[in-house]
């Protein structure tokens, strides 16, 4: 059917039709194809990027590349100092932070209580002891200070308060969850941990889209250690940042081989992702594919209309071509190649804009969604797959209208009869 001769003649006709067509019309069609391409790739890319942004943030600011946490039957990791020493000895490791964690409460406005029966301003929190410098080198925690300033290693009786514990940032009042009112840097609060109450001053407020960071109260590790009586230096959480290019799976496996998994849970950032996050990524990818499918239908209709109008307005010339002996297949190939050309140009421009402008721009300036900083996820493999789908759709959408017009009676086409 589509012999090499037909393809050659089709190419001959298509090339000249495109070359000598109105440049504005060609530009407009390519513009439409460019936006169709963006619709295919960017919409689903932003949807997936919405969740991916949250996942990336958890990795960058909480779990880091590998996280070690206490076993479910313990509140701490046994032999933490030797585990930390082992981690530091690995060549793949760039930085490590160890955290003491303890459940507790924080109380504010206790000095303004008039009667003992007045409702206390108390919130439950995870009390966290950190080495401020080590923590910052792994998770950039200082970046999330929205009020006040970050902790220094010798800041005793001073804490960082997670923003979700401050009513100003999270005005939620639901059973089992409460926040402090009228607190700010400089405010004195009481921290109750292990039955011991300690009065401290808020040094800064931490606000991040990673919930774990915003729901904690941060002490300098040495002070919390003495408050909870952890003279063995056993911590509850260790986050490990690897050197660029290192494989987290490899480091996890090395640690397991060295018996760390007997005293703690050793996970890469992927292992530590909650299942609902993985489900959400899959859901959003599915949603993105659904929207892309609609985009493909829109693209095929667009191409169909463009080629149909083109073919209908050139019906007389199609009749002449058939009249002088040009095969129907060669004429159809010319229209298929034209639609292919429009889709290819739109896709190439789209690829350049996507990878040279949109993706870097969104990586540098993520979209500020309430729960994540949305990035644009567009892996080259899936983008090329979508381009392939667009091409196939375009070829079919270019062929059908061409076929409809070409199959009409030759003489009727030449004479413009219906």
């Amino acid at each position: 059917m589509f012999s090499s001769l037909n393809i050659r003649i089709g190419f001959f006709l298509a090339k000249r039709q495109i070359k000598r067509s109105n440049p504005w019309t060609t530009t407009l069609i390519i513009f439409v194809m460019f936006f169709t391409f963006l619709n295919l790739v960017v919409v689903s890319g932003v949807l997936v990027g919405l969740i991916q942004g949250a996942v990336d943030a958890v990795r960058a600011h909480y779990t880091s590349d590998v996280i070690i946490s206490n076993l479910s039957d313990k509140t701490y990791i046994e032999n933490s100092p030797s585990v930390v020493s082992l981690i530091k000895s690995l060549p793949e490791v760039q930085a490590v932070t160890a955290r003491y964690l303890k459940g507790g409460t924080v109380e504010a406005n206790y000095k303004t209580k008039i009667k003992e029966t007045d409702k206390s301003d108390i919130a439950a929190a995870t009390i966290t002891g950190i080495d401020p410098i080590a923590e910052d080198s792994v998770t950039n925690l200082s970046k999330f200070i929205v009020e006040g300033s970050y902790l220094k290693p010798d800041d005793y009786d001073q804490v960082l308060l997670g923003a979700y514990l401050d009513k100003k940032y999270l005005a939620v009042d639901s059973p089992g969850f409460s926040t402090l009112t009228n607190v700010a840097p400089g405010t004195k609060i009481r921290v109750n941990v292990n039955g011991i109450t300690h009065e401290v001053i808020i040094k800064g407020i931490i606000k991040a889209k990673v919930d774990e960071l915003s729901m904690r109260v941060y002490f300098v590790d040495s002070q919390l250690r003495s408050m909870i009586g952890r003279s063995d230096y056993n911590v509850s959480e260790i986050s490990i940042k690897l050197k660029p290019g290192s494989n987290p799976d490899l480091v996890r496996d090395i640690l397991k081989k060295n018996g760390v998994d007997k005293v703690a849970k050793v996970q890469t950032f992927t292992d530590a992702e909650p299942k609902f996050i993985k489900d959400m990524i899959d859901t959003f990818a599915l949603l993105g594919n659904l929207l892309s499918s609609i985009g493909l239908v829109v693209a095929s209709i667009t191409i169909f209309i463009v080629i149909f109008i083109n073919a209908i307005t050139r019906r007389k010339f199609i009749g002449i071509l058939k009249g002088i002996g040009i095969s129907e297949q060669a004429i159809e190939v010319s229209y298929i190649l034209q639609s292919f050309f429009y889709a290819l140009c739109g896709s190439i421009i789209g690829l350049l804009v996507l990878y040279l402008v949109l993706q870097p721009a969104m990586a540098a300036h993520p979209i500020d969604f309430p729960f994540s900083d949305g990035i644009l996820v567009a892996p080259l493999g899936s983008t090329l797959l979508r381009i392939g789908l667009l091409m196939i759709t375009t070829i079919v959408a270019g062929f059908i209208p061409a076929r409809l017009v070409v199959r009409k009676n030759t003489l009727d086409s030449i004479l413009g009869r219906n």
């Binding site: 001769l5 003649i9 006709l13 000249r16 000598r20 002996g325 095969s327 030759t410 003489l411």
Partner: protein, 224 residues
């Protein structure tokens, strides 16, 4: 060479049927130049379209070089038109996005003639009609007369057995019409079979025979 036997053509419009050709019989020999004349609506162009395999007759036979056209499939008819027939239309029927040379080369390329040879043959045909200096002009840059000459060049470049022309001078001024008819005369001299529909008695005289049609029937065939 071409024989028409009891050819009829009717057009249906709902329940009504209009008979445009009512049993045409005639034969043209190889190398002959035949003019078809008649008033508007006599069926001249319709007859030309049936003979040139651009349309299907309602009944009757068209036999070209011993081959019955009714036995040919649509694809075979297309190939037959490509290799054996040439067409000159009243309104030139050139493809606007192709230059004169490309318009003439196209049927040759479809015949699988190598591009260089096709260009050479097309150039020769355009030179024959006096357009050797207008090879790379688009139709929009040519006058009506020049466009018709490109159309003739396209029709003869592959040396067809029969050249069909449908009122080739209808849209041309006197000077252009004269040039076109001179080309037809020259082609006939070289042995080209030509069947031409015309309104102009003056141009019909160039042909060897003139067929007069009226109301879908041949009313006379005159030798000129």
């Amino acid at each position: 060479m071409i024989e028409i036997k009891n050819l009829t053509k009717s057009f249906k419009d709902g329940d009504s049927e209009t008979k445009v050709l009512k049993g045409i019989d005639f034969r043209a020999e190889s190398g002959e130049f035949i003019a078809i004349m008649g008033r508007s609506g006599a069926g001249k162009s319709t007859l030309l379209y049936q003979m040139s395999l651009l349309d299907e007759p309602t009944s009757g036979d068209v036999v070209i070089d011993g081959k019955d056209a009714s036995s040919l499939s649509v694809e075979e008819k297309t190939l037959f038109r490509l290799f054996e027939l040439g067409y000159v239309f009243q309104d030139y029927a050139l493809l606007p996005e192709l230059t004169a040379l490309e318009n003439v080369s196209l049927p040759l390329l479809m015949q699988d003639v190598p591009e260089q040879i096709a260009r050479k043959k097309a150039t020769e045909a355009l030179t024959l009609v006096g357009l050797e200096k207008r090879l790379n002009n688009l139709p929009s840059k040519l006058s009506g007369g020049e466009q018709q000459r490109v159309s003739i060049a396209r029709a003869i470049a592959h040396r067809p057995k029969i050249l069909f022309a449908d009122e080739p001078t209808a849209n041309l001024d006197n000077e252009s019409s004269r040039i076109v008819m001179e080309i037809f005369k020259q082609l006939h001299k070289e042995g080209q079979t030509i069947i031409m529909v015309t309104h102009e008695p003056e141009y019909s005289k160039i042909a060897e025979r003139t067929i007069h049609l009226d109301d879908g029937k041949i009313i006379s065939i005159n030798k000129n």
